[in-house]
């Protein structure tokens, strides 16, 4: 189901990949895997986080990221570099002021009067304009003709689904507040980028009822504000060891016990009653879970967006696991 190629889905034209999802579904893991997958195709990629968690640094096992694009992984030959950046609104605001208004002294004065703190933690909408504004800057940097690094793709580890529409709909957040003025103009430019074919919003989910429901709700919300939904990224999908027939037998308790005992004996394992009972019970639990997962897969298929699966890694996600997940995404054609 999840093997449409990059050409068909058109991800090649996408520069900004926004990754959201319900809390606990592995947004950061999915975003990092996607960024690695894109880099493995020879692209120069920037992976950003905006929630001050330093989740990227933890995943890549590097020191906490500063407000500076930092090389975290490099391809074997030319190209394929992955940079990471933790965007915090305070630094973004100061940079923004310096860049567009040449506010050296005033910038510091703003800080002294608590304005930076006010604008970035309290003033609604302003914070999000600053965070998405940095992404905008990274995308359009080349157009300003500087010698700065040019990215082929920017992957944004975004806030969770509950806040994503609000986060991305920056100009409507500001609409009631700033009807004119530079920050409004800035918000409008960001919005144009986010609504263009250059941007896709991907939603991570688990194969469980609530995360899938939230993914479905988020798709509706994003459509309502004219944002393009990219793909559903299914995280922590269970292993597919048993085929459908075997799973049905496992649920009804009809797996061939004698055959299993014979096979175990063949590889020198003593097939005690307890062991065989245990294996059968584990198989039953697995099959029940898989049945629920398949129900959710059907719901996801009905959402009308492509989906990609990341397997559940028994040892958890470490750096090696991340590379493995990136390979899965490449294989399925997401990058």
């Amino acid at each position: 189901m999840a093997s449409t190629s990059a050409k068909q889905t058109g991800w090649d034209d996408v520069v900004v990949h926004v990754v959201t999802g319900k809390g606990g579904t592995g947004k950061t893991t999915a975003a990092a895997s996607l960024a690695l997958a894109l880099a493995s195709r020879g692209k120069t990629v920037l992976l950003c986080e905006v929630e001050g968690r330093q989740g990227i640094a933890q995943l890549f096992d590097v020191p906490p990221l500063p407000y500076e694009e930092t090389l975290v992984a490099s391809g074997p030959d030319d190209g394929g570099d992955l940079y990471a950046l933790a965007i915090d609104p305070e630094s973004a605001l100061l940079e923004y002021l310096a860049m567009y208004y040449r506010l050296g002294r005033a910038g510091k004065a703003l800080d002294r009067f608590g304005v930076i703190d006010f604008a970035t933690t309290i003033a609604p909408g302003v914070r999000d304009v600053l965070l998405t504004g940095k992404v905008y800057e990274a995308v359009y940097r080349n157009k300003r003709g500087k010698n700065d690094r040019v990215y082929d793709a920017v992957v944004l580890d975004a806030p969770p689904t509950g806040r994503i529409a609000q986060f991305l709909n920056v100009n409507s957040e500001l609409a009631g507040l700033a009807k004119v003025g530079p920050i409004r103009t800035q918000a409008d430019s960001i919005m144009t980028l986010l609504r263009s074919p250059k941007t896709a919003v991907h939603i991570t989910t688990l194969l469980e009822d609530m995360p899938v429901q939230e993914a479905a709700d988020a798709i509706d919300e994003l459509h309502d504000i004219d944002l393009r939904v990219g793909a559903v990224m299914v995280n922590m999908a269970r292993r597919k060891e048993l085929d459908e027939e075997a799973r049905e037998l496992a649920i009804s308790g009809d797996l061939p016990r004698a055959q299993i005992e014979k096979d175990l004996a063949r590889v020198d394992i003593e097939a005690t009653t307890e062991l065989v009972d245990g294996l059968l019970a584990e198989a039953q639990e697995h099959a029940e879970r898989r049945a629920l997962e398949d129900e959710q897969r059907e719901r996801i298929a009905a959402l009308g967006v492509p989906s990609y699966e990341l397997p559940r890694l028994a040892d958890g996600v470490d750096l090696g696991g991340l590379y493995e997940l990136a390979a899965h995404l490449c294989e399925q054609g997401m990058a």
């Binding site: 968690r53 004065a109 304005v115 700033a178 469980e208 061939p256 055959q259 175990l264 040892d315």
Partner: protein, 393 residues
């Protein structure tokens, strides 16, 4: 925002052998009449809402008069409590057995904020505030409003409970923020907003003597006007001036609720999944509670994997599966599949065990309940009962 917790140092014994945590005695906690408030907290996606509902139901069926405040329940969970759509008013959950009662409600953040404004200001002033564009955005999207309003609602429920005797236990779910600490930081954030230098500057012209109108300030206002435009500043000023009379009220209420959380009748239940991130969050929260002198009841680890038999190690199972597969005999596919499943499960169980032990080594005194993963979703009251039983052990 949530970076604050990450810069704090580790708190707890600095040396210790890995050992099992003491067991969290859930029933003793629920049965104790001194327990008046249970706050379930933890990072997003760990099953806080389900845990809150299950604890509330169990307490009710053991004879307590319970109200549960959920934040954003799944439709199925709301349905499982026999209520199609929960709203800002507590409604009785039907078919609760035993002598106790259970009411359930869902936080409506904007409604709650509006009510606070209406209760604190004169009708004309309230109308003026409610219509201000700044208020409308603030009340529906200020990062932290949900946390603050959950606190506010808890304070209200507590007052109602004391006044009417309708409830003797309040179970609170906390908003699905990335960091569990956000819940505790929200009132502080609101206070610092209200006490902030910038707010005072905004208020200064309205207060007469322009003593703040220093050279520094005009640089600031000029810069702000440049960036934000003059109109937004004006709206902000109007809003802040309108809210001014209520500042004291807001701050006092936030502080009261915060103090309520420090009382011995409150019990925090930290919820986590057996994942590194969730347990790290749980550890931060446990340390923070200790720092704030807030009573911690214990840790609930949801969705734990378990082995259904012990006889075969993961390595053995994997080796056996590989040997079976190398025979090229298709009839062994089911058996090798079972062995691989078992090997996988063994690794997951070992990793989760390791993560829990790491937590226990740093926080040996935190009572812990481990709740095994269910193979089906909760969709009715029986499902919630089962969860309650499993947590209680």
């Amino acid at each position: 925002m949530s970076t604050r917790g990450r810069t704090t140092r580790r708190v707890g014994p600095l040396a210790g052998m890995p050992e099992a945590s003491p067991r969290l005695d859930v029933d003793a906690l629920l049965d104790d009449p001194e327990t008046r408030i249970i706050v379930c907290t933890g990072s997003g996606g760990v099953g806080k809402t389900t845990t809150s509902a299950a604890l509330a139901l169990r307490a009710a069926e053991r004879g307590r008069k319970v109200v549960v405040l959920t934040i954003d329940p799944a439709r199925r969970l709301a349905q499982s409590m026999g209520i199609e759509t929960l709203d800002n008013t507590p409604r009785p959950v039907p078919e609760v057995s035993g002598s106790g009662t259970l009411d359930a409600m869902m936080l409506d953040m904007k409604r709650t904020f509006d009510e606070v404004v209406e209760s604190q200001a004169s009708p004309e002033k309230a109308a003026q505030i409610l219509a201000n564009p700044f208020y409308q955005v603030l009340s529906s999207s200020f990062a932290g409003t949900q946390e603050y309003m959950a606190m506010e609602k808890l304070g209200q429920l507590h007052k109602d409970a004391a006044r009417t005797d309708r409830w003797d236990l309040i179970v609170v779910d906390t908003p699905p923020s990335r960091s569990a600490l956000d819940f505790l930081d929200a009132p502080e954030r609101l206070s610092s907003f209200l006490d902030g230098r910038f707010i005072r500057i905004l208020l200064a012209p309205a207060r007469g003597p322009a003593r703040f109108m220093t050279a520094g300030l005009s640089v600031v206002t000029n810069a702000l006007t440049k960036v934000l435009g003059a109109q937004i500043l004006q709206d902000m000023q109007t809003f802040v001036a309108a809210l001014d009379t209520m500042f004291g009220g807001f701050r006092a209420r936030a502080q009261q609720t915060f103090a309520l959380l420090q009382q011995p009748g409150t019990a925090f239940v930290v919820v986590a999944a057996p994942e590194a991130d969730a347990l790290r969050e749980a550890a931060f929260f446990v340390e923070r509670l200790a720092g704030e002198q807030m009573p911690l009841a214990g840790l609930v680890v949801n969705r734990a994997s378990r082995l259904l038999h012990e006889g075969l190690s993961g390595e053995q199972a994997l080796a056996a599966a590989e040997r079976l597969e190398s025979t090229g005999d298709d009839s062994t596919a089911v058996t090798s599949g079972l062995l691989r499943l078992h090997a996988d499960r063994t690794r997951i169980v070992a990793r989760e065990h390791h993560l829990r032990q790491r937590f226990a080594a740093a926080h040996p005194h935190v009572p812990t309940a481990v709740m095994p993963a269910l193979s089906t979703d909760v969709h009715d009251l029986d499902g919630l009962r089962e969860v309650g039983e499993l947590i209680a052990g």
